[in-house]
Symmetry: C2
Subunit: 294 residues, 2 copies
């Protein structure tokens, strides 16, 4: 096994352990906690916290702190999936190879478990247990809350919802995805970096630039595998966007052109990482996004 | 008009203006912003931000800062009402005398507007525009996020949902309401206090004690007026809990006993406020909760 694979596996172990700990607390509502655990401790790819850890290394962040920040962001990702899957949104039955949250806990508890995961993210980031400076906490909370609200993820989800069945231009599709998936992915990349004492604004800007391209690559690859792979491999409903009459990079550009763009973007991202701050872990994760192999 | 009425009206004006400003921003998704505004700029009683301002005065907080913190908490209150009213929860058509959010914007956008208000609360509290110390910001974010999640409001909503149609003891009902409505109300009382430079832990503990009693009074009075007033006066469906087969103080204790307990609690709260730190504004707000007149 390659060195980067080993490091990556170690990071995933740390993430799983931290998520488990963050979701192990005495509670007066076991059902709610159980629903929160169900959609979090389910073997997702953890690409967001893995990015957080990788960029934390670049600014000499404490490893436990960047794991914690990454996991807080992962909770937001999980909450958004629960709400997205609800019958009043995408009405999906399958997620990561298992029944969706509302199929197990009912619509009301699923809704509430999403809300509770959302709140827990900010509880973790403001906790005395997170050993970073107050300033870094505030900056990270501001980064994440902006990334997920009206001007970010939820704004993008709404645009996506409202454009169902409509024809989008490539520019409109791109703008929607910059918000819907790009903003949180970018926050995971920048959030880790902000946690370290060596963070500086020049490097931050560069990472911001790279992060936007990684977000774009992520979505194009998502659209490609949604078209080319089956439901069992995906662990979620295949061809979902086509079934839901939604615009994708593949149906706007065609499969071949989408693959070409993904390929070019991947090369560009790798070049940027290498030229400016040669982070092996970041380059490895860019490969993971491109090949979607782990 | 009495002096406290004048002060109170001035505070309400500041709150309305601040909420309007917080929800006036350029956006790529006008529909989402419009849904967020619809359920926020709708003339609620603003009892939570009024409490925040009142306790901010006790610790010499900057007035604009306590208005901002109170409004951030009000956004959480509004988000919880939107989600509560959804057909997958209480399925209510009327709120503050108008159609509920999902009746106007549809279930999906209503869900998402709640999520966006939730995120906006933390964006505001972590913003450089809020002129309080980083430490105070962190403490307030931690207070609020704890108050609204698994161990607070959302936990209470879930217990409430799961106990529909079941018989609750008085102790169980009380525990549920301490979470469902009490936790956020308490956070609004403590959040303002934490914003000021003169905040100290002894006074904080006392306010915590008073806040719990105010939360209890709030809920008992809510149950009483739900039974005794009609839908037009309430601006939301009257007898809703009875219709939804939910336990209330009135149906567990009877109307007379519930009124007696509310009366005793009100006297106790007024005594506590007077004995320890005689805040006229806080006493005035305790009266507002009791008489529910403004």
């Amino acid at each position: 096994m390659e060195k980067q694979d080993l490091i990556n596996n170690r990071h995933i172990e740390l993430i799983e352990k931290k998520l488990y700990n963050l979701l192990s607390q005495p509670t007066k509502c076991e059902t709610l906690l159980s629903a929160m655990q169900y959609s979090t401790l389910d073997g997702g790819k953890r690409i967001r916290p893995r990015f957080t850890i990788a960029t934390g290394i670049l600014s000499s962040a404490d490893l436990d702190a960047s794991v914690t920040i990454g996991c807080a962001i992962e909770l937001i990702h999980c909450f958004s999936l629960i709400h997205d899957d609800l019958p009043i949104m995408d009405n999906d039955d399958l997620r990561r190879g298992r029944p969706t949250n509302h199929k197990v806990y009912g619509d009301a508890v699923a809704l509430l478990s999403g809300d509770a995961l959302h709140a827990l993210c900010f509880e973790i980031l403001s906790s005395p247990d997170l050993q970073i400076s107050d300033r870094a906490k505030i900056d990270i909370i501001n980064l994440i809350s902006q990334a997920i609200g009206l001007q970010g993820m939820v704004g993008g989800q709404t645009i996506d919802w409202l454009s169902t069945g409509k024809t989008l231009t490539l520019a409109q599709l791109q703008e929607m995805h910059l918000l819907k998936t790009g903003a949180l992915l970018k926050a995971s990349i920048l959030g880790g970096y902000l946690a370290g004492k060596d963070a500086n604004s020049e490097q931050f800007k560069l990472l911001d630039f790279i992060a936007e391209k990684i977000g774009l690559l992520f979505q194009i690859v998502d659209d490609i595998i949604d078209t080319t792979e089956d439901t069992i491999t995906l662990g979620k409903t295949a061809n979902k966007d086509l079934l839901n009459n939604k615009a994708t990079y593949v149906n706007i550009l065609g499969l071949e052109r989408a693959q070409q763009i993904a390929n070019d973007l991947h090369s560009e991202i790798k070049g940027l990482i290498q030229a400016h701050k040669n982070s092996e872990q970041l380059a490895y994760l860019a490969d993971c996004v491109y090949y979607r192999n782990s």
